[in-house]
Assembly symmetry: C2
Homo-oligomer: 149 residues x 2
C-alpha cells in the first residue's frame, strides 16, 4: 500500500496523537525523563495501515496497544525530528496543528538538551501542560517538586 | 480552507462513517424507511473542517451532534450518489472501504427504488446487517416482520 503525503496528513488529522509524558527517573540530572511520542492507534483489522505509515516515515514501530488495538509509535528523538519536518512541510488542517507546534517546540528543546536542566525541564513542562490538559494536575506537581530554582 | 481529495480520503478513513438506518414508517409501502447517511463528527473546535467538507462536496449540512460535538451529514440520495462517485474515484485505504462498498450498493438499490418493495427492502436489510453489526438483532427482527413474502 502506497500512501501519499496528503492522505497521511488527513489521516493523522483524524487519528494521530502528539503526546509528551514526563516520567520520574532518578538517574536523570533533573530527576525526570521527557518522553515525547507520535502515535496512531487502529483496530487490528487496519494493522496494514500502521505498517504503511511505518514505511512512509521510514521509522517507528507497530505494537499491540490494548486488546485488539494496535499502535504505530515513534519515540526516538531523531525520528521525531523527521516527523516534525514532515508536518511543517505538510501542515495539519485541524486544531491538532496547535498541539503539533507545541510538541515540536519540546522536540527542538530536547535536541538542544535543554530538558536535562531544571530550568529547561520546567519550560518543557509548561508547554506539555498546555497540550495534555487532562494531565495538568500531575504536571503541576512535578513543576512544584522541581522548585523555584 | 481548501481541502485536497487525498486529504479528504485520509480524514474520512479516520473520521468518516457510512451508516444505514432502517426506520419504521407506516406510510411507506413496505412499512419501513431506509435512511443511509454519510457522517463526519468533530469536536466544535474543528467545526471549520466540517464546513470545509461541506464546501468540498457541495452538499450536506453541519449540525450539532451531541454536546460539544458537531457533525457534517449527507442524507439526500442524489448527494449520496455524488459522495459515492467521489470515493469510487478516490478509494479509501482502510477497511472502511468494505463498509463503503456495501453502503454504495444500498444507495444504488434505492436509486432504482428497489427499497420500496418488500423483496428489495429485504435485500437492503441483508446488506445493512453486514455493515452495522451492532444493530443486527433489530434488523433481524425487521426482516422477520417483513415475512417470507
Amino acid at each position: 500500500m502506497e500512501l501519499s503525503p496528503e492522505w497521511v496528513v488527513g489521516f493523522v488529522d483524524g487519528e494521530g496523537c502528539f503526546h509528551v509524558s514526563i516520567l520520574r527517573h532518578p538517574e536523570m540530572v533533573a530527576g525526570y525523563q521527557v518522553l515525547p511520542q507520535f502515535v496512531v492507534v487502529q483496530h487490528k483489522r487496519d494493522i496494514q495501515i500502521l505498517y504503511a505509515l511505518k514505511r512512509f516515515f521510514r521509522c517507528g514501530v507497530v505494537r499491540v496497544n490494548h486488546g485488539d488495538r494496535y499502535s504505530y509509535r515513534v519515540r526516538k528523538l531523531e525520528h521525531l525530528e523527521k516527523i516534525c519536518d514532515f508536518f511543517m512541510k505538510h501542515p495539519l488542517k485541524t486544531k491538532k496543528h496547535i498541539d503539533f507546534r507545541k510538541f515540536r517546540k519540546i522536540v527542538l528543546l530536547m535536541k538542544e538538551k535543554k530538558h536535562l536542566t531544571k530550568e529547561g525541564l520546567k519550560e518543557v513542562i509548561e508547554i506539555a501542560m498546555e497540550m495534555n490538559t487532562s494531565e495538568r494536575p500531575s504536571l503541576e506537581k512535578i513543576k512544584k517538586d522541581l522548585g523555584n530554582g
